[in-house]
Each structure stands twice: as C-alpha cells, then as structure tokens.
Symmetry: none
Subunit: 180 residues, 4 copies
Amino acid sequence: MAQIRADAARSRARILDAARARPSGDLRLNDVAREAGLGVGTVYRHFPSVHALTEALAVETLERMVMIARAAAEHPDTESALATFLGEALALQLQDGGLQAVLLSPDDEEQSVRDMKIEIFAAFESVLQRAREAKLVRPDLSIVQIEHLVCGIEHAVRIGEPEDRQLFLDVMLAGIRPAV
Amino acid sequence: MAQIRADAARSRARILDAARARPSGDLRLNDVAREAGLGVGTVYRHFPSVHALTEALAVETLERMVMIARAAAEHPDTESALATFLGEALALQLQDGGLQAVLLSPDDEEQSVRDMKIEIFAAFESVLQRAREAKLVRPDLSIVQIEHLVCGIEHAVRIGEPEDRQLFLDVMLAGIRPAV
Amino acid sequence: MAQIRADAARSRARILDAARARPSGDLRLNDVAREAGLGVGTVYRHFPSVHALTEALAVETLERMVMIARAAAEHPDTESALATFLGEALALQLQDGGLQAVLLSPDDEEQSVRDMKIEIFAAFESVLQRAREAKLVRPDLSIVQIEHLVCGIEHAVRIGEPEDRQLFLDVMLAGIRPAV
Amino acid sequence: MAQIRADAARSRARILDAARARPSGDLRLNDVAREAGLGVGTVYRHFPSVHALTEALAVETLERMVMIARAAAEHPDTESALATFLGEALALQLQDGGLQAVLLSPDDEEQSVRDMKIEIFAAFESVLQRAREAKLVRPDLSIVQIEHLVCGIEHAVRIGEPEDRQLFLDVMLAGIRPAV
DNA sequence: CATGAATGAGGATTCATTCAT
DNA sequence: GATGAATGAATCCTCATTCAT
C-alpha cells in the first residue's frame, strides 16, 4: 500500500536528525531545512507545523516510555514499579526536550502519539492505584498532578545540574507519600 | 544622591505599569512604550535591555521577599519559618512571572537587585541551617538546589491549576525532609 | 487518430472535474491533483500550463457558444438573434470564470480552441453586420469592441448581484444602438 | 499638534511614488520598499496593509472626484452634469487602478476616505435623482448598479484600447436611458 | 532628555515546477 | 505514462534596536 519511497524516508530521517541537533523548544524550520541540506518545502511537506515535528521527534521516546509503563504495570513490587517508572520517565523527559510539550498537549497530530499517550496514562494509572493502596502515594494526588510534578522536577534539573536528577527524584518520591 | 527628575520618575512609573499589564516573558518594548504613552527611545533610556526591565519589575517583589526572608530568619519556630518562607517565595514567584529569571540570573544589572538577592540568600541560608539541624531538611540539599526545586514547583503549578499550589508545596516540604 | 488510452482519458476527466470544483482564476495545480486523486506530474503531463487547463475547462463552454453563434447566424430575426446571442454569451461567461481569459487570449494552446473562437467570431460578425444594417447597432462599433463590452458587463455583474444580469444586458443592448 | 516629522513625510511620499510606479492590483510591499529605498518596516509603519496603501494612493484621486461630484450636483444642466460626472469618474478610475477597489470596498481604513466616498455618493445621488426625473436614466437603476456599470466599462476599456473610453461611455449613457 | 521613524534581519509559509523513482 | 517528493524563490509580516530630530 502506502509504499514509502526510499528518498522520502531518507529526507525524513535527515530532518529528524537535524532537528535533534537543535535545542528543542526553538525549532526554526528554515534552519532545520538548511542543516538537513534540504529545501524548506520538503520540511513542510513532512511536518506541516513545528508541533508535528516535535511529535515525530518524540515518537521514539514515547515508544520507550510505553515499554517502561507496561513493565511497571506488570511489575509485582509496587514500590519498585513506581520508582522505576517515574525515574525513567524523568530521564526520558530530560533526554527529549520536546517530550514535555507533547505529553501536555491536548491535541495530537498523529493518532499513534495519541494512542501511546493513552496507553502510558492507563498503565501508570494502574501502578498509581496500587501505590495509593500501598500507602506509597497520597490519595489526594491525581495522575495529572503527578505528571505536572514530574515536569516540575524536570524543570528543576534543567535549570541546575544533570547530577541533581536522582536527588530531586528522591525528593519527589518522598514528597508524594502520605503524611505519617 | 543623583536627584531624579520628576518627569523621568513619572516616565519610569508609567513604563513599569504598562509592563506589568502584559504577561511577563513576552515583553515587546514597542508595545510597552505605546501603552505607556511614551516613545520607544524613552523606554530604552530607562531600561537598556529586556532583562533590565524584568529586573525593575521584580524589584518590588524582591523587596517583599527580603522582608519575608528576614522575618523567617528571626522567627524562633524553625519549622514554621521554613514553611512560611518557601510558601511565600512560591507565591511571589507565581505572581511575578519574571522573578524566576531574575533569581536565577548570574548577572544583575542593578546593584540593588544584587544586594537584595544576596540578603535573601543569606537569610534563607540561616533558616536552612537551623532546619537541617532540626532534621527538617536533608543535609545533602544545598540552598541552590532548594531554590531550583521551588522553581520546579512553580513550573508544575503553572502548567496546571493555581489551586495546586498548596498541595505541591506540601509535597515539596515533605520531600526535602531526611528519610526516616 | 491517436488512440487515447482509456486510463489517460479517465485521468483527464478527473482533472477537469476537480478543476471545475474550484473558483477559476486561482487554480492551484497541486490542489487540483490532490482532489483528483492523481499526482501533480500527471496534471502537468495533460496540461503543461495553467492556461492550458483553463482552455480545456472552457472547451465545453466554447462548444455551446459555437452552437449559439451558429443558431444566431441562421436566425432570420436579426433583433432576436443579436439579443439572444449576447445574452447567452454573457450567461456562459458568468458560468465559466475562465472563459473571458480564453476569449481574450491571442495565443491558444489547442488548435480546436482556436478554430472554435474563429467560428464564433465569424458567425457573430455576420449577425452583427445584419444588425448594423437594421440600425440595431452603431456602425462605429467593431466586433472586438462589442466583445470587450460584454466582458465589461460580465465584470459589472460579478461585482454586484447575479440578478443584475438581465438588466445590465438590456442596458448594453440599448446602449449599442445608433443614436436617434 | 500632530507635528508630522519632515523625514516621515518624505518617506511617505517616496513610498507613494514607488507604489504609483507599479501596476496597482499587485502591490508587493517588499518591492515598494526596495524601490523607495526604504526598509520594509518603514512601509509597514506607514501602511499596515496593502489596502491601506491602495487607499492612500487613491486619496488624491478621490479628492478630485469629490470636486467633480460637487460640481455636477451644482450644475444646472442635468444632462451635462450626468455625462460629465460619469465621464470624469471613468477617466479617474482608469488613471488610478486602485480606485475601483477602494470604491467597492465596504471597509475603509481611513475615515477621510469613508467621508469622501459618502460625499461622492450623496452628490451623485442628487444628480441621479434629477436625471431620473428628466428621463435621462431608467428609474429601475440604483446608484450602486450604475457604479458597477462604470466599473464594468472601466474593465472594458482596460482590456482594449484607451481610445475606446469615450465611445464606451457613450454606449453606457445611451444604455441607461429609459426605453422609448 | 524625549521622541518615534527607520531599520532590516529573521521567521513562517506557499506554490509552480522539475525530476528521480 | 504516472507518481509525488523535492525544490527554493517569493511573499508576508514582526520586532529589537538605533539614531536623526
């Protein structure tokens, strides 16, 4: 069917490579095109908007996040599942600077992105439910609020040093526990 | 000192008023000038860069922060001092969208800003030291890291609902305690 | 003659259908191609330029115009022949937004278009000659000038309401009569 | 009051000159800027949109049209008033290629333009009323329809020769008379 | 000092046309 | 012959900053 032409695939890959080389958050499509050695129009053909490109960049990261979320949902040890998932999610968000925007955006251009986000949320919700029951998470924290907290921690790490990641994650994990 | 001319002072005030009316973070100096009923040049004379204007906008907020920091340093109840200071700092940062940038910037244009930041840090450092001794804060958290955490929480509130503020603050306060 | 392949004919028809769906005057060949479910290249193969496509769209209208012109030339009642021909021509030009350009263009891409235009002009010239003799048309109005007047009336109707058509046609018919 | 700076006035004049040099109807503001020897921003400062520039170009012509309309309204000989006004209006529209768009546009950027258009219409309406009473104009033709007819005649002259102007005007004047 | 006109690089976006597949 | 990806000039418009008045 939709036989993706070899040259188109190569262009797409080049664009994604060029985009990855820039600080996400300020993607100038003209610059991306120049650095990819392609015409501007080609970039627009593949990604009609900046958000579409950001999403495409995030797809690979999202795929890994889906894996992690599934693994966490299936992991018998709730505490470990929670810590691992949040830790990995944080690490991925720090690696992929556009991921936060994709996760927070209410509108996804790609159906696959939407599907992955839904699956991630669903899997994490089940982890979260178990964690609440195990008194590892305050019952008054919603999944969305925890997502926002992770984004907050991501921000805290970004304005500081990468080495703060584990420490800040620990702070968060301790902070979301119910009061004793 | 330098006797500031009355009209110059009025211009300054008008500029600050106009700037406050806009969402910090996208200050268009032309727009500010127009809304202040002044020429662009006048704005540039008073504030040679966007950051200078952001700083000036932050001065008032910083003054309140100095007060709060002093009060916290003098407050005998360490726990209350810590919670109050962090809570108020968070509230101020949420009110004044440019404050985070000013607090994090290594270079201040105004000496008074530099001085206030130093005083705030010094006062909070003393609170923090007491809090560490009272086992209210992990000993491995530096003052800068805590500042970054507050900025992270600010971000978390911004991407969510204002009502999350107290909850997220509680999470942070609980999170920075030493493990039991 | 040249045996036209069935699929080529189908492509051609699809392109024409898609083009007819758009407001003539801004034919974006890419859009036409997409709506026709064909590649842009195919469109260019059939119609090497926008004008070629406009002409092709006009062919059907021109065929009807040829009929009308012949009928007018053969019609015994000169007054009726003139009024009918000009009225129908105006109606056709209003229907087919690209017709005016084709009629006015000195260069035709298709020989058939050139032939039809010649026949239309010849037939109308004979009507006109009779009309001049019957004192229905000023002798100082050339066939080209009358064509331009019809285009002017077309324009007048376009910038106003479709309902103005008959009224404006009447104005024109009255206006081209010799002074009394 | 609004003391217009000499340099600004010069820029404005240069822009208008450059714009007049181009075929109205496709004004590229960048080109106008280059030919005026000015920055693009300057052009945008003076004329925020193409229509604003078209209007400004038309102002002078409109002023002359106001004069003509007033003179016609005051002219005792109705027939001459009508013929002169329509003839001059046609001549002005042919001179100033943007005038038609300004006259037909429902939204004017400049209040002065709006005012002039209103005055022209009012003056012409009075001429028209007299002309209707003198049996020089069909009673079923509205002022707007006559305006459209003039635009149509303008178009007819444009696609043909300038020398056709008087002839086509005569056709129109004869055409709008009531049938005998 | 104040003014605001002028600058022009920068960024987004479109579309007619070509050409490798 | 059909395809549609690629091209990139062209266009629009904005805004931080300078400088003549």
